[in-house]
Symmetry: C2
Subunit: 117 residues, 2 copies
């Protein structure tokens, strides 16, 4: 990704921010996971998250959560007990991204019924 940015024409350099944003939220479930950590129950355990996401596989959920965590968007809190208990929640950084997601959501809600000729 970095290399492509370097190749970008000057006019577009100032827009590389969205390439960065996109790199954080692209993936089939990332944005919906972030959304899943908002609202009435913003702290969610692994299996509960999996249930909420429907068809995601263990593998994908696990990998995705690791990426979100290493990108600083979510927080993973592990309770050292048996059986294990792990809770995921949004970090401040993750929360700062919510308005962006909201805007995408809003645009989609408004325009998903546009008639395309």
């Amino acid at each position: 990704m970095k290399e492509e940015v370097i190749d970008m024409p000057c006019e577009l350099r100032e827009e590389t921010g969205f390439a960065y944003t996109l790199s954080l939220v692209s993936g089939k479930y990332k944005m919906i996971i972030l959304y899943s950590l908002t609202g009435a129950t913003p702290v969610v355990r692994f299996n509960e998250l999996k249930r909420r996401l429907g068809k995601i596989s263990y593998r994908t959920l696990s990998l995705t959560l690791k990426e979100l965590e290493s990108d600083g968007l979510i927080i993973r809190k592990e309770y050292p007990q048996i059986p294990p208990k792990v809770e995921y929640s949004l970090s401040a950084r993750g929360q700062s991204l919510l308005p962006v997601l909201d805007m995408m959501c809003e645009w989609g809600n408004v325009h998903s019924h546009d008639k395309l000729k």
Copy 2:
């Protein structure tokens, strides 16, 4: 995609708009193509667009433009002449998406230098 939406828990139904938005702009070059059709030269020919995008292949540019067009985000205007001349520009719908892209861009610019521990 539709099926997954159906599987989504109730709490998330109202957020399916962003899945729709995302489906329109996801892809390695879609957003940057939209951006390329703004500014001082908002009407661009195929090869000029290819030049601006750097490393994109003919195939991918061609496919991507078709998708953007069929999603109503850009307009393809063909001049029946030899050699061929085709101009691409943003539709009103495409323009309405710009604030969303701007916001993603802005967030990325602000947060791309966050220190992640």
